[in-house]
Subunit: 225 residues, 2 copies
């Protein structure tokens, strides 16, 4: 389904496209497509060819590497304003990850050629893409560091402290199984560690809600072997 009318407005609100002038935005709008996708549906699968990139307008998308027995390793989550799949586009390689909607979502899809045109016309658009890829790279390096150099407790604590919180309260944005996979853990282990932190009086968990009781002691747990 395509609604050219509000597509332009949608695009203009995405960080990636904020630098484009009116003419460029019009071109991009003409080329872009709205994709609405239902919760749990796939945007693409591993092995699919990649002819463009996606931007999340509404909802949340999970990027993951599928494994043998229905397993998976979550690479990252994407929300409104985030672009994903660019790296595969620039490499002209098929996707090696799969993208699945975690909520009913609205995506914007843009053809590779249109991206290249925007790069050619607007260097600041190129810079924005470079910054976006660099940020993604930075995140992955941090993830690799985390998985290799920190034990399970440290990873869980680091995750809790990295989440946005108000009045010392945080929420798991998605199912705990997904968070566990992102942290390189099994759901069982995550559950046990949360329980253990709760018993130590550092947090209180109920459902997706987490109360941070003693953030100083929590941080201390990140630095003990």
């Amino acid at each position: 389904m395509r609604h050219k009318t509000d597509l332009g407005a949608l695009l203009a609100h995405q960080p990636l496209f904020r630098s484009l002038d009116a003419a460029q935005l019009a071109v991009m709008t003409a080329a872009a497509q709205k994709i609405s996708i239902e919760k749990n549906d796939f945007v693409f699968h591993r092995g699919d060819p990649c002819n463009g990139l996606h931007v999340v307008a509404v909802g949340h998308i999970k990027l993951a590497v599928p494994a043998a027995n229905g397993q998976q390793k979550v690479i990252d989550f994407f929300g409104p304003g985030d672009a994903f799949g660019e790296a595969f586009m620039f490499l002209d390689k098929p996707y090696m990850v799969e993208a699945q909607a975690l909520d009913d979502s609205l995506l914007i899809w843009i053809d590779k050629q249109d991206i290249y045109n925007a790069i050619d016309r607007d260097p600041s658009f190129a810079r924005r893409m470079l910054a976006g890829l660099s940020l993604r790279l930075h995140t992955l390096v941090k993830d690799i560091e985390t998985v290799n150099l920190q034990n399970a407790t440290q990873r869980v604590v680091a995750y809790l402290l990295s989440q946005p919180r108000e009045a010392d309260e945080t929420r798991f944005p998605f199912n705990k199984g997904l968070i566990a996979s992102k942290l390189g853990l099994t759901p069982e282990t995550l559950s046990r560690l949360l329980h253990q932190l709760a018993e130590a009086g550092l947090i209180e968990v109920s459902g997706k809600r987490v109360q941070i009781i003693d953030s100083a002691a929590l941080e201390a747990r990140m630095y003990v072997a």
Copy 2:
């Protein structure tokens, strides 16, 4: 030390700069610096500010995340023609990794501003940078997949089979400890697994030299739990 004369020739041979025209190349050459660095010396440390990028002309560089007790996690190795550190440059963040020479090496350093100028003038240069970052990202995702979804044996076998070989012979390009770290293993475990593969008659190891005896059986090991 700076030798403007051959710097231009050096630059012109790097994949990154092949698209530049003579004028741009001249500008870049004027701005670039040769850095010679001895084996085991550091190009930069974690936390250093990043004002440009490095290209390897001669030698080999190791990127790694330093850890507490002198430990480290090797992120990747870079050889002639490879650029490294770009991501931190585009993010305006200090390095979160350290770079160390594995051989006596010759690097080319280019200031951030000059890179931005080249991007502004030459969209195909921008594309090249984007492709470079995308490739790096792709590599990291594969590494994350490997560490999370494959056991130690599978990782070692995958590494052996991924290395260039002639007449079924491969070599470890660096100390085994570094390879082990890259694979997310301890040197002890790598040693044991190599021994084990050798006992099974799949390979023969002597020093850095590895003879692949039965590549079919090796590949089979990648797919068993």
